[in-house]
């Protein structure tokens, strides 16, 4: 009975998160804001970023004693999905990763020189003043952070708007974590298809805030992968909804094109992809929140499914729109572009399939 009550509370808290997301990404809202921010630096709106802080989103997963809400991945995924549906460009998922690292640094029992800096940066991010990105990636197609000293760190989303970078560095004692301010950093930007950018950072200096960050980074990367899967769920779900609308209203040969059976069956196929992705993402979030032993495999499954299905759904969304879908002025193309960027972020489908193989060794009889 009390378990049932807890479940009901949980469902209610997720419903509230979804409702609050409408403040920034209203269902059916237009994408003028998104278009206006495209292909400009920093690619997102600092005022909206501050609002996200004020709404408690940046600290959603941060422990309450550090000023966050201490909520679970169920809540975070619901939020990420809603923001994905609205194509919000603000980099909430990568910053959630940084927030988890900063939380670990701020509460670490060993007093390091930098634990104060960690707390300050975290507090500033929770109010939306700061935007902290973690510069962990040294090559494409990996979820491993070797922390090679001096190596360039790649694929930092929306890095033009960052205020600080967290940089894991391999030292004799283990993987340490440094914080360096973005001002004066050696950072180059490349535009991405969705109108944002990837930054490449050549790290230098900074203050050490953790001696050993390997375990917490690994966990946070998994959570970021799942958060990205949830974002992709939102992207594909909304792209599919827009496409369904189009099928019902666009006429050819005297009928709405959605009356043609071949398109009906294709729509049914896409609906099944969305349903499977939703089930997979929600199951992974639940297994993370329950600290279930198979949570690593569940995350791998959710991100693999979300990456493949989001590409399938958004590609087909273009196809089903016909010529108009190929214009930049129609919003449906924005969904494809976002999916193209997110599908491989924090690991693409192939990488997560390999991870699943390792994390979920086949059992003779389950």
């Amino acid at each position: 009975m009390s378990q049932q009550l807890a479940e009901d509370d949980r469902a209610e808290s997720i419903r509230m998160i979804r409702d609050s997301a409408a403040a920034i990404a209203p269902p059916g809202g237009d994408l003028k804001r998104v278009r206006a921010l495209r292909f400009k630096t920093p690619g997102f709106d600092p005022a909206v970023w501050a609002e996200m802080g004020a709404l408690g989103w940046t600290g959603l997963r941060v422990p309450e004693e550090l000023g966050g809400s201490g909520l679970g991945m169920g809540e975070f995924c619901a939020l990420a999905e809603a923001l994905g549906a609205g194509l919000a460009p603000e980099p909430l998922v990568p910053c959630m990763l940084s927030a988890m690292l900063l939380s670990a640094a701020a509460t670490h029992p060993t007093t390091l020189i930098g634990s104060g800096e960690a707390g300050e940066a975290l507090a500033a991010m929770l109010t939306g003043e700061a935007m902290v990105l973690t510069a962990w990636q040294e090559r494409a197609n990996t979820l491993e952070a070797p922390g090679t000293p001096g190596a360039a760190r790649l694929f930092l989303p929306m890095a033009g708007g960052a205020t600080h970078f967290l940089v894991p560095v391999r030292e004799a004692a283990g993987l340490a974590l440094y914080i360096q301010p973005a001002a004066g950093a050696d950072l180059t930007l490349e535009a991405t298809q969705d109108g944002g950018s990837f930054g490449t950072l050549r790290p230098a200096g900074g203050v050490k805030i953790l001696d050993q960050c390997a375990a917490v980074l690994e966990q946070a990367l998994g959570e970021a992968a799942l958060g990205t899967a949830a974002t992709l769920l939102g992207v594909m779900d909304r792209a599919f909804a827009i496409t369904l609308d189009y099928l019902k209203t666009r006429t050819q040969f005297g009928r709405p094109i959605g009356a043609f059976q071949s398109l009906q069956h294709r729509a049914a196929d896409l609906a099944m992809e969305v349903a499977l992705t939703r089930a997979s993402v929600e199951a992974a979030a639940a297994s993370l929140d329950a600290a279930a032993p198979n949570r690593g495999a569940a995350i791998a499954r959710a991100k693999a499914r979300a990456s493949d299905s989001a590409m399938l759904v958004t590609r087909q969304a273009i196809q089903l729109h016909g010529g108009i879908g190929y214009t930049d002025e129609h919003d449906i193309g924005l969904y494809l572009r976002r999916a193209m960027v997110l599908a491989s972020l924090f690991g693409g489908a192939a990488l997560h399939r390999r991870a699943f193989m390792t994390l979920a060794p086949e059992s003779g009889d389950e």
Partner: protein, 389 residues
């Protein structure tokens, strides 16, 4: 009877889901005949009658029926758990048309006399039922059926042909959809009739299928006389009643167990063929495993609805499509891995677990029966996505 199940309460709903599962599991393990575990084909009455009668004696034959008629009155979720445990152990499906179709129909629409006559006979294993819905020209389009029943006094005279009648040669009763009014549009004018199989004028012809097994029959009706008292419900309302029967059973068509079973066979076969460690096999196998896990996650969301006491939405059709197509994808892989052995009619090396062509053929109907996947996609498009007609 072993101690644990004797200790079970009469109302099994009082057990927690977990305890209920264990009680059921132990009973099955203690009582199910070992020689018919995981049968490759649907069993005939002569083969599964002993298990049917064991369940009858235990009072577990009719999980969904009310207790006053010999049922268990289980909650939908506990019914699912029971089915899961049966599938887990490899217990064969019995001749259960009486339990899952006729029982619920009579409970809802039958007269007191009909209930008193037929329900106990089903529980006792005296009446074995088969279904007379499909016709040669009314497969997916069931409403266009043509077998007709003409009322002469207090007797219906039935003429026509039914097909795909599962285990028709085992049954001593058949329930029929028959056309009783040809003047109205085709979904109307259909009635529901109960007919003894030994009525003069009935001929049963088994159909041999691709699996070379005679699971199905054709049943021919030549001036078969049926008392009007064997009509269920109102005349010309048969279609509505038949549709109402298709309720929560639909979730079973989407149960991941079939795919899970096939995937285990694939792992065994790959081991035997020495390809388990090949990267290409591993990649394919991993994709199938992940697909299966995602199907299970989706299936769970529907079980969760039942747990909350909600009904099943039309989107449950998605489960059936996903499960049946995954099942076939797995059996495709079985043939590929088997290489030349894929052509063998019988199991490899006499090992029933190594029978790639057998599973492959057994998987064929899953996308055809229970509403073909084409029909299911129509349903998804129209009833779930609200696309125009």
């Amino acid at each position: 009877m072993n101690a644990v199940t004797d200790a079970a309460p009469e109302d099994m709903n009082l057990l927690s889901d977990h305890d209920f599962r264990l009680v059921v599991r132990r009973f099955i393990e203690a009582n199910y005949p070992a020689e018919i575990r995981n049968p490759p084909k649907r069993l005939h009455w002569s083969e599964n009658k002993p298990w049917y009668m064991t369940l009858s004696r235990q009072g577990w034959l009719a999980p969904g029926w009310p207790r006053e008629h010999g049922g268990m009155a289980l909650s939908p979720l506990k019914q699912i758990i029971m089915i899961e445990e049966m599938e887990r152990y490899g217990a064969a499906r019995t001749n259960d048309m009486g339990i899952v179709m006729i029982g619920p129909l009579l409970l809802k629409y039958g007269t007191p006399e009909q209930k008193a006559t037929f329900l106990p006979a089903i529980i006792a294993g005296e009446h074995v039922w088969c279904q007379g819905y499909s016709e040669p020209n009314a497969g997916s389009d069931l409403a266009s059926l043509r077998t007709e029943a003409v009322l002469e006094g207090d007797t219906y005279v039935v003429n026509g042909q039914k097909t795909w009648t599962t285990l028709g040669s085992d049954a001593n009763w058949i329930f029929l959809l028959v056309r009783t009014d040809k003047a109205v549009k085709k979904q109307e004018g259909i009635s529901f009739l109960l007919v003894p199989m030994d009525s003069p004028g009935i001929t049963v012809r088994p159909i041999v299928n691709l699996d070379l097994h005679d699971e199905f029959c054709e049943v021919f009706f030549d001036n078969v006389r049926v008392p009007a008292s064997n009509l269920v419900g109102e005349p010309n309302k048969g279609w509505t009643m038949a549709k109402a029967l298709l309720g929560f059973e639909r979730i079973h068509l989407g149960s991941p167990k079939q795919s899970a079973h096939a995937l285990q066979r694939l792992a065994q076969l790959a081991e035997r063929m020495g390809v388990s460690e090949e990267p290409q096999f591993q990649d394919r196998f991993t994709r199938l495993r992940m697909d299966l896990e995602d199907l299970k996650a989706l299936y769970e969301t529907y079980v969760e609805r039942l747990r909350r006491g909600e009904g099943l939405p039309p989107s449950v059709s998605m489960l059936k499509v996903i499960q049946s197509e995954l099942y076939q994808k797995i059996t495709d892989a079985l043939l590929d891995v088997a290489a030349e052995n894929a052509g063998l009619l019988e199991p490899m090396e006499g090992n029933r677990d190594l029978h790639p062509s057998g599973i492959f053929i057994a998987a064929r109907p899953s996308t055809i029966y229970g509403g073909s996947n084409e029909i299911q996609r129509n349903i998804i498009a129209k009833n779930v996505l609200d696309l125009p007609g």
